[in-house]
């Protein structure tokens, strides 16, 4: 009779004896995986959306007057002194007028009575990709505001700020739910396996006396932990996937979801979550059985 036959027979006996608490543990692990994965999914999508949005990020410095070519060169140098930029584009008053007219399209005739210089001149600064942190953008905009002749700097402050704080919040929630997952998976599994061990204390003691190796005693419990982790994470992730499908189905069309391009986890992340859950549950059962073996 080989080792694995013995292990599976023993694991089957464990399961038969304590299947209610095993089932509760399995549910808890699934739920923790679901909660964690849910927030993590929001987080990754936020990051993705943030990346896409910051591709379009530009700071607009409104100027008091059209700068002459020499002045443009000076300003350009000043801006690049602070930090290198992706691009700097000067927009004169008449350029601004034409853009606006273009945007209005058919309604452009409302502009006929307006003077061609009624819009302010401006500089469009596209910062480097590396300069995308909220604080860096803020500092940069403060610097741009001190440029001679600058009136006002705009980059959708409010929006960037909100997005930034929301991302922070989600990060915290992900960390919290991750901790919750670690605690529940590790401790719930450790606890149920402790229960099993206590319920079968007599037998395990006897096994030691008749010469069962530690591996003979330990492996069925480790296997149980591993199974809890595997099943729990698969069920948790499947539930999330169903939820995800339901949301994409019911909230398609014009709206926030489209803006965000909601996507599910790539395979690598799914595998990582499953492996992580297996790891945690196995550690949980390992600590319990190890305590018993030491006695």
């Amino acid at each position: 009779m080989n080792f694995w036959f013995a292990v599976f027979r023993q694991a089957g006996r464990n399961l038969r004896q304590t299947w209610t608490s095993q089932f509760m543990t399995f549910l808890t692990v699934s739920l923790s995986v679901l909660i964690f994965a849910f927030f993590y999914l929001i987080y990754t999508n936020m990051i993705g959306a943030g990346d896409r949005l910051s591709d379009d990020l530009r700071l607009i410095v409104y100027l008091e007057d059209d700068p002459g070519p020499e002045m443009q060169e000076q300003l350009r140098r000043k801006i690049n002194n602070f930090d290198k930029t992706e691009s700097i584009q000067f927009i004169s008053k008449s350029d601004a007028y034409e853009r606006f007219a273009e945007q209005l399209g058919e309604d452009s005739d409302v502009l006929t009575d307006m003077p061609r210089d009624f819009l302010p001149a401006s500089i469009e600064v596209v910062p480097l990709k590396s300069l995308r942190g909220y604080n860096q953008i803020k500092l940069f905009s403060e610097y741009l505001a001190t440029l001679p002749g600058s009136e006002k700097v705009q980059y959708g402050q409010e929006w960037v700020e909100r997005f930034y704080y929301f991302t922070r919040l989600i990060t915290i929630v992900v960390l919290l739910s991750g901790t919750l997952l670690i605690l529940t998976a590790t401790f719930m599994v450790a606890y149920t396996i402790r229960l099993t061990i206590m319920g079968r204390h007599e037998e395990l003691e006897l096994l030691k006396l008749v010469g069962a190796t530690n591996n003979y005693i330990r492996t069925p419990f480790l296997l149980e932990g591993t199974l809890q982790g595997l099943m729990g994470s698969i069920i948790g992730l499947s539930a999330l996937y169903i939820l995800f499908q339901w949301i994409s189905l019911h909230f398609t069309g014009p709206g926030l979801i489209n803006l965000f391009h909601f996507t599910f986890f790539p395979p690598m992340v799914i595998v990582s979550i499953i492996l992580g859950s297996i790891g945690l549950c196995t550690i949980g059962s390992f600590t319990s059985i190890q305590k018993f073996l030491k006695i």
Binding site: L206, K208, L209, G211, T213, N214, Y216
Partner: protein, 243 residues
């Protein structure tokens, strides 16, 4: 150069007739607060011997057997089983040695919610015997002990005499090299006692070393073997029976 193969089985290495199976030198066991269960015990059991341990209740017989199978550790002294200091063995080596020692405990240590067959099988399962071989061996033993009809009964439902025989069957099932039997006939009638002793004698003939702790004069007064009497934890006498 030939490769030296490490023997997995600690007991096999010195398990040759004429060698020493059990060696105790100046062994004492004191329980808190000041109960001297055993003091200054020194004796030797040879491989293949049938050895009797007698003495009044409380003399220290069970304590001595527990020390031999490493269920308990001595307060002082040296215990060697098959040439291994049993108190220094750990982990895998200890497990393998224990697989080669069968013990029938005075309190049986049966799993009351398991069937008779499962209880007997446990010692063979841990040494990975084949399921078919296990089933065969269980049936044989039950037949020899006249318990064939109890194969699927829960041990918790059996009488003490029946439980005693199950405990014995489990101790010999895995064909151990050393068998320790604590009070094997306490609850048995004369005819059943005979059967139990037949089984043990057969194991002994097959080469197993056997130590039997008992009050039962009827089993140790027949035959040619050594009998050691304990009194208050000390060796009172150690002599060869020759009848």
């Amino acid at each position: 150069m030939p490769k030296i193969v490490q023997n997995q089985d600690p007991i096999e290495t010195k398990d040759i007739p004429g060698n020493t199976m059990i060696e105790m030198i100046k062994v004492s066991r004191t329980y808190a607060p000041d109960i001297k269960a055993l003091s200054d015990i020194s004796f030797t059991v040879d491989t293949g011997e049938l050895f009797f341990l007698i003495g009044r209740s409380g003399a220290g017989k069970t304590t001595l057997l527990k020390l031999i199978c490493n269920m308990d550790t001595p307060s002082k002294g040296l215990i060697e089983v098959a040439g291994h200091n049993i108190n220094n063995l750990k982990g895998k080596k200890l497990a393998h040695l224990r697989q080669k020692i069968g013990v029938a405990y005075q309190d049986f240590k049966l799993l009351s919610d398991r069937t008779v067959a499962e209880n007997i099988a446990i010692s063979m399962e841990v040494s990975y015997k084949k399921p078919r071989a296990i089933r065969q061996r269980v049936r044989d033993l039950l037949e020899q002990l006249q318990l064939t009809d109890k194969h699927d009964a829960l041990t918790g439902d059996l009488s003490r005499g029946e439980q005693q025989r199950i405990a014995l069957a489990r101790s010999v099932a895995n064909s151990p090299r050393l068998i320790l039997v604590d009070e094997p006939t306490g609850n048995l009638d004369a005819a059943t006692t005979e059967r139990v002793m037949d089984l043990l004698t057969r194991c002994n003939k097959a080469g197993a070393t056997i130590v039997i702790a008992t009050h039962d004069a009827s089993i140790y007064q027949k035959g040619n073997h050594r009998v050691m009497e304990l009194r208050n934890g000390k060796i009172h006498s150690l002599s060869r029976n020759s009848r």
